[in-house]
Structure formats: structure tokens, C-alpha cells
Symmetry: C2
Subunit: 185 residues, 2 copies
């Protein structure tokens, strides 16, 4: 067997894929070892506190990507429709055409929420607030912008659930397209 030298950052995509597919409880260290090609000892070298630290690292990485790909455009001065379009394109990419939920939503869905309460709250709060600000720029009143932003984020999260239940990613694409049209009015 070839001895591989890995970096912590290299492991994150595979960790994210596992946690997003099987959830926190459903992802075992054996599965992580198999997917990464590393032994458990190596995994504990990179993540001394074990599975909770691995999941936290996935959330951190996802949050960093999200700040770059979604929050950045939403906060950048410019036409609202451009910001909204960038958000929608980033979401389509991140959710693989509606087949894959994101770790934040999956962890929020069950009691895993209690383990990562603070980052979960922050993630969705920042998203809704940033989108609401864009909607204000697009002409909405403050209160209407807040509720419309909430409903938009909710609709995205729910569309992933529905696309997965239907085993048909096209319904997610349709939902994103309608959302983009609705927000850009």
C-alpha cells in the first residue's frame, strides 16, 4: 500500500460529501477512513477531537465558501438582479442540481442542531439579512424585504427536500428559476 501524505484541507471535500449524504450520526469513522484512504490514526492526527471537530470543520469550510460565493455578491454594491443571479448560480452548483442538501440544513433538521446551534443560527440569519438588504435596494419596504428573504431561503431549502424525495433534480432547478424571477421583480 502506498503511504500518502495528506493535508487537512484535502480531506474537507470528502468529509463534506459524507456528512451531507449520511448526516452526522450516519457518518462513521470507518466510512470516513474508507473514503479518504486514511487510517483512523491519521484522521485523529488532523482532527484530534474526532468526529465533532470534523463536522465543525465542514461547517467552517462551507461558511467560508458561502461568504465568498453568496454573501459577497449580495453585499457588494451593484444591481440587485446581478447579486440575486450570482446567489442562484452558486446555489445550483452547491446543491448539485437539487440532489444534495447542505450540511447546515441537514444538521438543523434533527437533534444534531444542539451540537452546532451557534453556527447554524448565524448561517441562515446572515443569509436572510443579506438578501433582505438587496431586496430593500430593489425597492421593497424593510418589513416586506425581511419576510420575502426568509420565504426565499425557506423555499430553497424545501425545494431540495422535495427534489430528493422526487428523485428528480429538475424540480429544484425550476424552483430556483422561479425564485430568481420573483426576487428580480
Amino acid at each position: 500500500m502506498v503511504k500518502q501524505v495528506a493535508e487537512r484541507a484535502d480531506l474537507l471535500p470528502k468529509l463534506a460529501q459524507l456528512f451531507r449524504s449520511h448526516g452526522y450520526e450516519g457518518t462513521s469513522l470507518a466510512a470516513i477512513a474508507a473514503a479518504t484512504g486514511l487510517g483512523k490514526g491519521s484522521l485523529y492526527h488532523f482532527f484530534p477531537r474526532g468526529k465533532p471537530e470534523m463536522a465543525q470543520a465542514v461547517l467552517d469550510e462551507t461558511a467560508a465558501w458561502f461568504a465568498r460565493a453568496v454573501l459577497g455578491p449580495l453585499r457588494h454594491p451593484g444591481p440587485p438582479r446581478v447579486a440575486i443571479r450570482e446567489m442562484c448560480r452558486a446555489l445550483e452548483a452547491h446543491h448539485n442540481g437539487g440532489t444534495q442538501i447542505c450540511a447546515f440544513a441537514l444538521f438543523a433538521a434533527d437533534e444534531t442542531q444542539t451540537l452546532f446551534a451557534a453556527p447554524l443560527r448565524t448561517h441562515f440569519q446572515q443569509w436572510i439579512e443579506a438578501l433582505a438588504r438587496v431586496l430593500v435596494l430593489a425597492g421593497r419596504g424593510a418589513a416586506a424585504a425581511r419576510t420575502e428573504a426568509f420565504d426565499a431561503v425557506a423555499c430553497i431549502q424545501g425545494a431540495i427536500i422535495l427534489a430528493r424525495a422526487a428523485e428528480d433534480g429538475r424540480v429544484f432547478a425550476g424552483a430556483v428559476a422561479r425564485l430568481e424571477a420573483r426576487l428580480c421583480v
Copy 2:
């Protein structure tokens, strides 16, 4: 210790509560035994095929309740706004003010989906179709009714995720109220 004589039906509420809180993988037989007060042997008496059968029974029970409380009103001839109101009240009750997701949505979110693909697909498909028919009665065109029904169900599912992430059930109540107003136009 008192020897209790249980019925399978008595176990379902507690099973549902456990699966809805911890997910399929996160719910252990030990936790089920503790919550029901039964030994593992008794559990296998009621569910000879073990945990998968328990989860299936929860889905069956939930589907039966849903047919009664949501699909029934939606399919019953009568004013659309009444059907929609009954749906919304039933959802508020079932989701405990947005604090608890339903088993169908939770199982669809991760790879548990592969174990229960057929009932998950059927559940959301029936819901969307029944709601779309009501929206047609309320005056929408067929295509618009279909997409509006999809978005409504998605918004509900997503609102539960967001309410759990925010640890604030009021945002779910608000989402349901807006949904009801939107659908009743």
C-alpha cells in the same frame, strides 16, 4: 417492575417522536426501549424485522394522519380557503410550532431516502397535486397551480429548517400565516 401489555399502535407516537428528533440513523433500539419502557425482545415481537419496520410503521401512521387531516380537506368539495385553512392548522399542529420536522422530510434529507424512496415520493407528490387542484378551483391556471403548490410545500419544509436553526418557532408560524394569505388570494 410492572409487566405492561402494549399494543403496536401505542408505540407509534413514541417511535415517531424519536425518529423525528434524531433521524433514522440517530435513533437506537436502546433509546426506543428506554422511551417505550419495553425491552428489546418486546420490540422485536411487534416489529420482527427491527428498526426498518419501525420506521416504515411511523411513515405509514404519518401518511394515514396526513390523508385524514390534510389531503381529505384539500380533496373535499368546498371553498378553497377553507381547505387551505385546514391544511395550515394541521401543519401547525403536526410541526409543534415549527420546532419539529416530519419524518418524511427528515428521511428525504439524507441517504435514508434510499430506504424509503417510494413512500417519500408518494407523500409529497400527493400533497402537491391535491393542493394544486384546490388552487385551480381558486382560479389559477393548471401550470401556475402546480408550481405554486410545489413552492408552498417547499416553503413549509424550509421554514421548519429555518425555525429549528433559529431556535425560534415564531418564524414558522409567520411563514404559515403568509402562506395561507398568499394561497387564498
